[in-house]
């Protein structure tokens, strides 16, 4: 009896589309920059990244692929804080290792003012 391969082709195409779209989403939240070379906490459990704020080497801020200013970042964070309620806000700061700490300090000051109590600093595992 001849075996129909049409369902297999359908599944393979679905998988291709799946991996294409997940790769695209990962690229959008993560800007192309050189993270600090540190091994991090090496925890097995996965944690929600939450809002990802990319701090580029020149100090510009990038969120979801868009370069934004502090006012826009303030709006985004306030939205997250409001939505989280009493729960801690998940927030990740990805800063270029060569960027001056002044840029990160600026972001940290803004986050502190808005009531964010903790953040995750992204690192690249060497």
């Amino acid at each position: 009896m001849p075996v129909s391969i049409t369902p297999m082709i359908d599944v393979v195409f679905l998988l291709v589309i799946f991996f294409m779209t997940t790769a695209k989403f990962a690229r959008e939240t993560r800007a192309d920059l050189d993270l600090p070379l540190e091994r991090g906490e090496q925890l097995d459990r996965s944690e929600e990244q939450g809002l990802v704020v990319n701090v580029l080497v020149d100090g510009s801020l990038e969120v979801l692929g868009d370069v934004i200013d502090e006012a826009r970042l303030r709006t985004l964070v306030l939205g997250r804080v409001g939505a989280a309620g009493d729960d801690p806000v998940a927030l990740t700061v990805r800063a270029d290792r060569a960027a001056a700490a002044a840029h990160v300090n600026r972001v940290v000051d803004l986050l502190s003012d808005l009531g964010v109590q903790s953040i995750r600093v992204a690192t690249e595992v060497p």
């Binding site: 790769a23 800063a95 700490a101 300090n105 940290v108 953040i119």
Partner: protein, 140 residues
Amino acid sequence: MRIRGPRRHAGLPMAAQELTSMIDVTFLLLVYFMVTSVIAVREDRLRTALEAQGTPEAGDQRDFQEQVVEATVADGRPVYRLGGLVLEDRGELGSRLAQLPTSLGLVVRVDDRVSTGFAVAALQTARDAGFEEIRYEPAR
């Protein structure tokens, strides 16, 4: 009258031969995207607390209770300052931090002039020394 069936090549019908190339390309694409998603740079993170605003403990009283390491600049070079000690090497910083009680937590105060990598190295060194409560604080 003899009716000839579809042409065959090596025992396969013509339609199956044409489909084989497409299946090959599809599998190649699948393997490509699977591999690229795995090869992506591995990232990790360091949790750090931020300075709480409007709490009664803010200010000098908290500095007296907590231990502070400063990532700052001295003589044009990035250094770590722990109490009265000026340390240039993170290994030395790690050995000094290991001598401190971890239960009191640690504040990493970061000068604007140092690089982010230098500041994050202090966070990592503190984490490696056993500190669970680490607070990142911009220097003012």
